[in-house]
């Protein structure tokens, strides 16, 4: 996969209970781009991210990551190149120590333990958690847990990063350092968030979801110059 793009073509998703979370989503994220995904609660942001990491599959339409269509068969390949930072870091930290949590992905990839160690150290370094290897998630602050969750994904060296409301439940300082951290990333990034400022600072482009469809797709700066855009989808 030389091209780290993501393409959504008429994507529909219906949950088992009949809820139509996505009703025809179309857009494309190109290599190295950072896109903010805005929308009210329940607008389908998380669902779209789950589809992008082959954790759910479209009921209709298609998601492509690079040249590979997201299907059950390609799930393993997709998950290797797409890193997903879940909304709740506690979902991602379940091993007895941070080290083991961050090593979980690389070990699943059957990398030699030496390489696992290199990646764990590097990822922890990047998110500023060096020296916390032996701690358990439970001993970390909210911001540190978020960083640990990000390290868990970085250690898999993905091409594309999905982040689901990463600044939720962070205090101002932790949020600041998260933004600085993400600024340094070269990955293609899709960032689902309610945090308008964060979107503005990190992403040139914004896609707004409203009730399962794309309500806006354009420059982030446009949103700030034209309040109608946010008003129309209830974000203001």
């Amino acid at each position: 996969m030389s091209h780290h793009f993501v393409k959504y073509t008429n994507v529909h998703y219906r949950y088992e209970d009949g809820t139509e979370a996505l009703k025809g989503v179309d857009f494309k994220v190109t290599h190295g781009e950072r896109v903010a995904l805005l929308g009210l609660n329940g607008s389908g942001k998380s669902t779209l991210l789950l589809l992008t990491d082959a954790l759910l599959f479209p009921s209709e339409g298609e998601v492509n990551v690079g040249d590979v269509p997201v299907t059950k068969k390609t799930a393993e390949t997709i998950r290797r190149s797409v890193g997903f930072v879940f909304q709740d870091p506690d979902d991602m930290l379940f091993m007895p120590s941070i080290y083991d949590d961050v090593a979980f992905g690389p070990r699943n990839m059957n990398l030699p333990e030496q390489e696992v160690e290199r990646r764990v150290n590097k990822s922890l370094q990047e998110v500023g958690l060096k020296g916390m290897e032996e701690k358990s998630a439970y001993q970390l602050s909210g911001g540190q847990r978020r960083s640990a969750a990000i390290a868990c994904v970085l250690s898999m060296e993905p091409d594309i990063l999905l982040l689901d409301e990463p600044s939720a439940n962070l205090d101002a300082r932790a949020r600041r350092s998260l933004i600085e951290l993400l600024k340094g990333f070269k990955h293609t990034i899709i960032l689902a968030t309610h945090d308008l400022e964060m979107a503005e600072e990190l992403c040139e482009r914004t896609v707004i979801l409203s009730e399962g469809v794309v309500a806006f797709d354009g420059n982030t700066s446009q949103i700030f110059s034209d309040p109608e855009i946010l008003k129309n989808v209830g974000l203001l």
């Binding site: 890193g83 709740d88 979902d91 991602m92 333990e113 358990s136």
Partner: protein, 262 residues
């Protein structure tokens, strides 16, 4: 802190303070050997069990944990042991021993014996968990031949237990915050509480499962290379097996009594 939270922390902490160094299946093997030794001592011979305390005492010191910590963690099983053993002194009144003018019946001996063997077995297990952590233990079970599906299942159930507990704590707090000091709740509300708890913990478990899948989990947990078996493991295994066998089969009580009497 509520009782629920205390219980949660008690179990969780056990898993958390383990050190990574001595993670090797040898601890699991020695623990199994020790349990067999303790449980095979006849119930009416508490004097045969006392000496086996040497293992948890010495091994926990050698592991740098300290017997005090292990002991404190082990005493909360006492009530359970008392319940199991309490009827023995009442029903089994055959006198077996005289201490001065005091007649000791067999019921008391078995009672003491049950307390000792329960406490010591539990201490050995705690020591194992403290040095290795549950997750490693499940992994080691795999290393020494338990089916990997079973171990992963156990591991996930173990994790799920925490998920439920965590959700229960959150819900209990929320309830208390709105309860205006109310202590008792009608039965119907408990039904709802449990229903909600199941729903929430299912959602949480789904999240965890997804997060595992997203990182390449395919049914078996990856083993780290740190579960090593080296010369130290052999030394630990052989010397403890020897010591435990010695303590189990030599009648130290008798030897010492004889020395004192003489």
């Amino acid at each position: 802190m509520t009782k629920l939270e205390k219980a949660y922390l008690a179990v969780n902490n056990i898993d958390r303070i383990r050190r990574r160094t001595d993670s090797s299946p040898v601890i699991l093997l020695v623990t199994i050997i020790y349990l067999i030794a303790v449980l095979s001592v006849p119930v009416d011979r508490p004097q045969g069990i006392v000496w086996l305390a040497a293992y948890p005492v010495i091994a926990s010191e050698m592991q740098g944990i300290g017997y005090g910590k292990v002991f404190v963690k082990s005493i909360w099983i006492l009530p359970l042991l008392v319940i199991i053993g309490v009827f023995n002194p009442i029903f089994d009144k055959v006198t077996v021993l005289h201490i001065g003018s005091l007649a000791v019946n067999r019921g008391w001996l078995t009672f003491i014996s049950i307390i000792f063997r329960g406490l010591l077995s539990f201490q050995a297990v705690i020591l194992m968990i403290l040095t290795t952590g549950f997750i490693d233990i499940f992994n080691m079970m795999r290393k020494v031949g338990f089916p990997s599906v079973l171990c992963t299942q156990m591991l996930l159930s173990y994790r799920y237990l925490f998920v439920i507990l965590e959700e229960a704590i959150v819900m209990k707090r929320a309830r208390e915050a709105r309860g205006y000091g109310r202590k008792a709740y009608p039965f119907s509300m408990w039904g709802r509480f449990i229903g909600q708890l199941l729903m929430k913990s299912t959602r949480r478990a789904t999240g965890i499962h997804r997060a595992m899948m997203a990182r390449g989990f395919s049914g078996t947990l990856p083993l780290g290379a740190k579960y090593s078996w080296n010369k130290r493991s052999w030394i630990w295994l052989i010397s403890w097996t020897a010591v435990i066998a010695l303590l189990r089969f030599m009648d130290f009580s008798k030897i010492i009594t004889e020395i004192i009497v003489r």
